[in-house]
Each structure stands twice: as structure tokens, then as C-alpha cells.
């Protein structure tokens, strides 16, 4: 186990280095820089800004400096927000995105699994159809339409929740629903199909034949096995949702990390692009690792070291 994890950590560092390198160079190839605007700066001011931020140095020096700073977890100042460092942006934005993401995941997992299980147990009955229609809507309606719709219905028409902003719990409900709708639908469908598969297995028949109660059979033998695909979906989902969704954050005016991730690119806010990318990558790599470990815990048949070779 220790050997496996340390090997995986090594891979993670290599992947991270590749990501940093690719981002760094793609970013510099893109025309324009943080100071480009319709009101062009006098050349002398631009030169002094470049000097101040080290943008006048050769690329390999900048690249080396940058790697050095990442190791110390110092991503530098933001170009777009003079009073803020990239670390500030992450420290302020991430907890917000995390809270919103967790709320959305909680909703997605709870409702998704329940819907999926009901659909599978009532296969081809009206409960199944209802659940799957809800799921189809969840998957096919894009989050920005869902968000606008929720905002319109629950905030403007019914006045149950505020339209936007991030202050109290009631502010978080609509964005969490909008963000969680698609994964919820996906989880419902995933649960349903793997439940159906598991239910048709011989050991379920054996369990039934042994006279096991329906409840025990479902809880012990079915759901546990049926949730494996859901768990593997959780890793990337968690990373994706927790770092924040640009669209949901924009529509609901939430000060999360997702908007920085997208806007930094059009702003050419070099340090923010790099900082948020590195942060996001680490989150993604770690969550994938956690999922792999969780696999081993849920299903003892999967040997971690062996599983790796198969990949």
C-alpha cells in the first residue's frame, strides 16, 4: 500500500510538472499581455511594469523562478487586482467554491442514488419512468438554463430565495441545486443501470433463496456493489465541482474560484492563470488517487497494486 501510494505520488509530481510547463508556454504564446488594453500604455510605463513583474527576463529565467515559487506555495501578485495576491484569491475563493460544491455534491449524491435505486427496484414501472424523466431533464438542460430557471421560479415568482449573492444559507440553495442537477441526473442513471446489472447476478438469487430479507439483500449485496461506478465518477466530479463553476458563479454572483479560473485567461493575468491551474491540477490528481484508494476499501477484490497494472 505504502509503495503503491508513493509510486502514485511520484506520477502526480511528473504530471503536475507537465501541466505547469504546458500552461506556462501556451500562456506566453497567446498574443497580448496583462497590460494590453484599448488605451495603450506609454511604452516607458509598460517597460517599467514588465521589469517590475520580471516579464522582461528571458523565458527560461521566468520559468525557473516560477517553479521555485510554486515549491514555496507563493504564486505571486495578481495583475488584474493590484491589492491581491494569487494566494489571497485562492484562500478567499476556494472555501466558497468548496462549500457550494459540497452542497451540490451532497444533493447530487443523495437524490441521485435514491432516484437510481428506486428506478432499478421498480424497473419498468411508473416510478422508474418518472425517475428517468427527471434524470433526462437533469442531463439535457445545461446548468446556465437551469440556473436562470431556478432563479426565475424560486426567487422572482415565488420569492422563496434571494436572486443572487453569497451571504446566508438561503443564498446557497439555488446555486447548489443548479450546480448539482446534472451530476444528480448522471448518478441516478449510473446507479440504476449498475443496480439492474447487480440484481440479475446469481448471488442475488442465492441470497433470495437463502431467505434473506429484501432490505438486507438490497443494502448488503446490491447497493454496495452497484455504487462502484458512482464512486469512480465521484473523483473527477468532486474536483470539477469543488473548484467552482464559472457559469454558476457568474449567474449567482458568487465570489468563488471558478470565475478567476476563466476570467484570468481573458485578462492574461499570468500569475492567476498559473496559480489556479496548479491548484486545480493538484486537487484533481489527489481526488483521483483518493478514488482509487476508496475502490480498494469498498471492493476487497480490487488489489491496488494489481489494479494499477491493468490501467
Amino acid at each position: 500500500m505504502v509503495k503503491y501510494i508513493s509510486k502514485r505520488l511520484l506520477y502526480m509530481i511528473v504530471s503536475l510538472l507537465l501541466i505547469i510547463t504546458a500552461t506556462f508556454f501556451l500562456m506566453r504564446i497567446a498574443p497580448g499581455n496583462p497590460f494590453t488594453s484599448e488605451k495603450k500604455l506609454p511604452p516607458e510605463i509598460e517597460a517599467s511594469l514588465n521589469e517590475h513583474y520580471g516579464l522582461d527576463k528571458p523565458w527560461y529565467v521566468q520559468y525557473g523562478d516560477y517553479l521555485g515559487r510554486i515549491v514555496q506555495w507563493d504564486f505571486g501578485p495578481s495583475f488584474k487586482y493590484e491589492s491581491r495576491t494569487v494566494n489571497d484569491l485562492i484562500n478567499d475563493g476556494f472555501p466558497v467554491s468548496l462549500a457550494l460544491g459540497l452542497e451540490a455534491i451532497l444533493f447530487a449524491v443523495a437524490v441521485g442514488i435514491v432516484l437510481g435505486v428506486i428506478a432499478a427496484l421498480r424497473h419498468n414501472k411508473w416510478q422508474d419512468y418518472t425517475a428517468m424523466i427527471v434524470a433526462v431533464f437533469g442531463i439535457s438542460v445545461p446548468s446556465f438554463i437551469m440556473a436562470t430557471f431556478l432563479q426565475y421560479l424560486f426567487a422572482i415568482k415565488l420569492g422563496l430565495f434571494p436572486v443572487a449573492r453569497w451571504e446566508t444559507f438561503s443564498h446557497t440553495v439555488l446555486p447548489a441545486l443548479a450546480l448539482g442537477a446534472t451530476p444528480m441526473a448522471f448518478i441516478a442513471r449510473l446507479t440504476r443501470s449498475s443496480m439492474l446489472e447487480v440484481l440479475s447476478n446469481d448471488y442475488i438469487k442465492t441470497a433470495k433463496a437463502k431467505g434473506l430479507s429484501r432490505g438486507a439483500m438490497i443494502m448488503k449485496h446490491t447497493i454496495r456493489n452497484a455504487l462502484l461506478p458512482v464512486v469512480s465518477y465521484m473523483g473527477p466530479l468532486a474536483a470539477g465541482i469543488i473548484t467552482g463553476s464559472f457559469i454558476i458563479e457568474k449567474i449567482f454572483g458568487i465570489p468563488g474560484l471558478g470565475s478567476h479560473f476563466v476570467l484570468s485567461i481573458s485578462n492574461r493575468d499570468y500569475t492567476v492563470i498559473m496559480g489556479v491551474t496548479v491548484f486545480y491540477s493538484i486537487l484533481l490528481l489527489v481526488s483521483i488517487l483518493l478514488v482509487d484508494i476508496a475502490y480498494g476499501l469498498i471492493d476487497p477484490r480490487i488489489k491496488l497494486a494489481g489494479g494499477k497494472k491493468g490501467e
Binding site: 498574443p31 506609454p42 516607458e44 517599467s48 424523466i133 421560479l153 443572487a164 454572483g253 492574461r268
Partner: protein
């Protein structure tokens, strides 16, 4: 089996009816909302204003700010030597009096007894400190060039002189003497601009990070003071009891949300969560403008800004003035503002907005003058030795990726094809890629907008003074035009000076290095109980005098 079908039908019809209900609800809602905002006003007699400023400001240090969001906050919390008054003219603010020397190069300001929000007195030294700080290259101010009018400003900023040689001196605590590089007829407009704001030197010298957060350190001398700043989320201002003119400040609190979505902003307004939606600090979605206009809630005000198409005058066939004029005359601007932009914009047949030169509402030529355009085209083709417009190579029209710009470009492409038979190809790029190409001259026709920083026609003309001037982009230059601008600088008679600028503009329009399309407007909806918000001709908003009825 029958039963399952039945239940399926039931579910489907349920879902459908839910959606239909939501859709049909849209129409009667508009009326309901009006009632809502109306009622809301009563509750707000508390004199608390809620607005949206869209994004986190770049910086709330007056010397570093360089964008409209930062400016929108700083204008409420700082007081310059002058302030743009309700009539759009500069009036005395932190200074109570000013004397100008005969050579128009020295201004002596007498400061009034005023205090910073922490109780410190506002002194002449605070201005000296702030201006020197902003031009000091070590402080990386991107707007340092706003201070180039002050003697040695540019030299200091370029590292060729020491910061203390700047032409600003504290004669005593209440007397400030400013020496200019050249006579600058609009200098009192400039002193109202935020780069010229004072900074509490006592606080700033003690803590260089004083401006990065709200708190004891953040001191200001304006009508309001900042009490909290949740980054990327919200800024809260409260009335500054130490302000010299506090008796005329009625609002007790302004909360500024940072919501970067026009639809959400409007929804919040309709829901009574905001008192103002739209320009100048927020934005309204274009597609709702006609409806807001028809129900009478839309406010529209022209601002000093122009949307134009720049011609690269070194790329054939656009190096020919007749061709450029043919293209400019053939545009039907009225059709564009009425059918595409929808915000009550004003067709532009001049370079300087009507708020600065009134006659420019009519402009120098007739909108959509196809007959004249055809004459110019014929003359242009003759110059080029071509028999027919179809022999002209396809011209590329570029714009930055945006639905609004795209619609305008498509309309104009169509007009040029239909009226002149000229083939035009459209090309769009992401904003910074586009700007880089435009600044480096890698384009034929490109769209651009320009907003004035202060209320003077020079703002729009000086762009084209030098071929390689930073924002010219057209590669156009004209010695007579240049001379007129230079002469206007030293002309002390305002009427004569204005005439010089008009003459320069006439030359510009005659050579047509850009085709003006329309003058910008600000459009917004507001709580109708809110009065005396001043939106200047430059599109800046001030809440100093605002109040709820």
C-alpha cells in the same frame, strides 16, 4: 402495460405544464414587478443605496486605479481639488479657491479646512505626496501619464528626474502651488480626475499597504468612507461625517455588489434587491432594452464616447481617402442604432461627441448618403485605375469576439455590398489578441471604441496627433491637423481654442482615417424614488447629492 403508459403520460404532461406555466408567467410578471419596485422605494426612505459595480476593482489607491470600476468607487470616497458638479462643470471641492498665473502655467490652490475620515487634517502636503507617489516609476502606476501635464511628470515617470522635482509644492498647510509643463486649458477638469486625488500622507508613509483593505488604515476625504471590502463580493460605503460638505450628503450607506452578469443584475433589481441596474457601473442585457424602453422605465443618457471603425491608411485600397469616405458615407447609422444596438445611441458623423461640441449631433456629413458615397467611390476607383468596384480586392473587417460587435459588422458588411458593391470579409478574435493586432497595424478595418477621460475635445483628437502615437492605429498623420492641436494648447481664449479644435476635426473628417458609427449612451433602470444621482457627460456617476424621496 396500459397502466404504465398512462402514468408516463401523466408525468410528461405534468412536466410540460410546469414549463408552460413558467413561460406564460413571463408576460404578466413585468407589470407585477413595476409594482414591486415602487413599493420598495418606501422602505428605502432609509437613505441606503444598493448598486452593482460588476467586478472587483483593480485598486482603490487613487494613484493606481485605472479602470471604470475603481474610478466608480474612488469618486464617492475621495475629493479632489475640484469635483465635476451637477452641471458637468468642475467646481471647487477640496480647494476653495484657485488663482492662475498670466502665462497659464501656474495654479495656486487654496485648500479649505477639511478632514480625512480618521480626523487628520487634509493638507497641501497630502496632494504633493500623492502626486509624487503616482509619477514615481517605482510605484508602477499605469495612469501615471495623467500627471504628465504637471511639470516634470513625464521625466520623473521615465526615470530621468527625481520625484521631488515634480511641479507641485506645498507653500503652507493650506496652499498648493502647481506648475504645469505647458498651459493646459482643461487643467481644472483634470484635477477632478481620481489620479489627482490626495492621499493621507501620514497613514501612507507609515504603512505602504494602507489601501489594500478596508479598516483603520484606509482613509479618504470624500463624501463617503469605505467601511468594508469583501473582495470579489461586496464593498460597503458609509457617509463620511468628517466631510466638509457633509450637510449636503443625504445617503447614509451605499452597498456595492460585484455581480458580473447583466441578467442577474436586472433580476435583482426587479426583485427589489438593487436600486439601480445598468450603466455606468453595471450593465443591462441588450435584448431587454426594447421592453424596458416601452414600459418607460429605461433611462438613457448620451456620454462622451464614440464607436468607430478604424481604417489602416497604409493598406490598399484604404490608403485612398476617397475609398475611405465612400465607405464611411454609405453606412446607415440610423438603422444600426435603431435595430441593432437598441440603447438610444446617437448616429456619429463626427469624431468628438456632442457633449463636448454641441453641433456634432448633426455632424459633418449626412448619414447614409449613398449618392455622395458613390461619387467618392467612383473618384477612388479612378485614382486606383480600376473600372468597377468589383475589381477591388475583398476587404477584411475585424472586431473582437462579441455578439453586439458581430451584428453591427454584419449590418455594415451588407450595406457596403448592397450600396457600393464592395466585398467585405468579417474576422473576429478574442479581445487581447485583437487589440494586439490593431496596435501593431495588422488589420484593414477594425472596430474600436473611445471614451473621454475628461470633458474636452482634445481627448478624441490627440489620439491621431502622431502616426506612431500609442492609440492612433490608423497610421494617419496630417501636419495641419497636428499644428492646430499644438496651437490650441497655448490659446487662452476658450472660443478661439474651440474653433481650432473644430478646424482640426474638419480636416480629420475630410480625410476620414476612421468612420465614426455612433456615440455611446448609458442605459439603466433605477428605483424612481432615487433622486439627484449625477451621471456626467463622461459617463461617471456620483452619489454625493443622491437621496431617496
Amino acid at each position: 402495460m396500459k397502466k404504465t403508459k398512462l402514468s408516463l403520460l401523466l408525468v410528461l404532461s405534468l412536466v410540460l405544464s410546469m414549463f408552460l406555466a413558467a413561460c406564460s408567467g413571463g408576460k404578466d410578471n413585468a407589470d407585477g414587478d413595476k409594482g414591486k419596485t415602487g413599493e420598495d422605494g418606501k422602505k428605502d426612505a432609509a437613505q441606503e443605496l444598493r448598486i452593482n459595480i460588476s467586478t472587483e476593482p483593480f485598486s482603490l489607491h487613487p494613484g493606481l486605479a485605472n479602470d471604470s470600476t475603481s474610478g466608480g468607487v474612488i469618486r464617492q470616497i475621495y475629493d479632489g481639488l475640484t469635483r465635476i458638479g451637477k452641471d458637468g462643470k468642475p467646481e471647487m471641492a477640496a480647494a476653495e479657491d484657485v488663482k492662475t498665473s498670466d502665462d497659464l502655467k501656474t495654479y495656486t490652490f487654496k485648500l479649505r479646512d477639511a478632514k480625512w475620515s480618521n480626523g487628520d487634517p487634509v493638507t497641501a502636503e497630502d496632494f504633493v505626496y500623492a502626486w509624487q507617489w503616482a509619477v514615481d516609476p517605482a510605484n508602477q502606476s499605469q495612469y501615471a501619464y495623467q500627471l504628465y501635464y504637471v511639470k516634470n511628470g513625464q521625466a520623473i515617470n521615465e526615470g530621468n528626474a527625481k520625484a521631488d522635482t515634480l511641479g507641485v509644492k506645498a507653500i503652507d498647510d493650506k496652499t498648493l502651488e502647481v506648475t504645469l509643463e505647458n498651459p493646459t486649458p482643461y487643467f481644472l477638469e483634470l484635477t477632478a480626475f481620481y489620479t489627482y486625488s490626495p492621499v493621507n500622507s501620514k497613514v501612507a508613509k507609515a504603512n505602504k499597504d494602507w489601501y489594500k483593505d478596508a479598516g483603520d488604515q484606509y482613509t479618504s476625504n470624500g463624501p463617503f468612507k469605505m467601511v468594508s471590502w469583501e473582495h470579489s463580493s461586496k464593498i460597503v460605503l458609509e457617509k463620511n461625517e468628517n466631510y466638509w460638505d457633509a450637510a449636503n450628503v443625504k445617503l447614509t450607506k451605499i452597498s456595492m455588489d460585484m455581480i458580473n452578469d447583466g441578467n442577474t443584475e436586472l433580476n435583482m433589481f426587479k426583485n427589489g434587491e438593487l436600486d439601480w441596474a445598468g450603466s455606468p457601473l453595471g450593465k443591462l442585457p441588450i435584448d431587454v432594452l426594447p421592453q424596458l424602453k416601452s414600459d418607460g422605465s429605461l433611462h438613457t443618457q448620451p456620454i462622451a464616447g464614440v464607436y468607430w471603425y478604424k481604417f489602416n491608411t497604409e493598406k490598399p485600397p484604404l490608403n485612398n481617402a476617397n475609398i475611405r469616405k465612400a465607405l464611411a458615407y454609405a453606412i446607415n447609422r440610423k438603422a444600426i442604432v435603431e435595430n441593432v444596438t437598441l440603447g438610444g445611441q446617437i448616429p456619429a458623423m463626427a469624431a468628438v461627441p456632442p457633449s463636448m461640441i454641441e453641433e456634432n449631433e448633426k455632424g459633418y456629413f449626412k448619414d447614409n448618403d449613398v449618392a455622395k458615397a458613390k461619387e467618392f467611390l467612383a473618384a477612388g476607383l479612378k485614382d486606383l485605375g480600376l473600372s468597377d468596384a468589383s475589381k477591388l480586392p475583398t476587404i477584411t473587417l475585424s472586431y473582437n469576439t462579441d455578439e453586439g460587435h458581430q451584428k453591427i459588422a454584419q449590418a455594415i458588411q451588407d450595406m457596403w455590398k448592397k450600396e457600393l458593391g464592395i466585398n467585405v470579409k468579417l474576422e473576429n478574435e478574442e479581445w487581447k489578441v485583437y487589440i494586439t493586432k490593431l496596435h501593431s497595424g495588422d488589420y484593414q478595418i477594425g472596430r474600436m471604441g473611445w471614451l473621454g477621460d475628461f470633458n474636452d475635445p482634445i481627448n478624441f483628437l490627440e489620439l491621431f496627433r502622431d502616426k506612431k502615437g500609442g492609440n492612433n492605429d490608423t497610421n494617419w498623420e496630417n501636419p495641419k491637423f497636428k499644428q492646430l492641436l499644438t496651437d490650441s494648447q497655448t490659446e487662452s481664449d476658450p472660443a478661439k481654442r474651440l474653433q481650432m479644435l473644430k478646424d482640426a476635426e474638419a480636416i480629420f473628417i475630410d480625410e476620414m482615417p476612421v468612420a465614426p458609427i455612433y456615440f455611446y449612451t448609458n442605459s439603466w433602470v433605477q428605483n424612481e424614488k432615487l433622486k439627484d444621482v449625477v451621471v456626467s457627460g463622461l459617463g461617471d456617476v456620483q452619489f454625493k447629492w443622491a437621496h431617496f424621496e
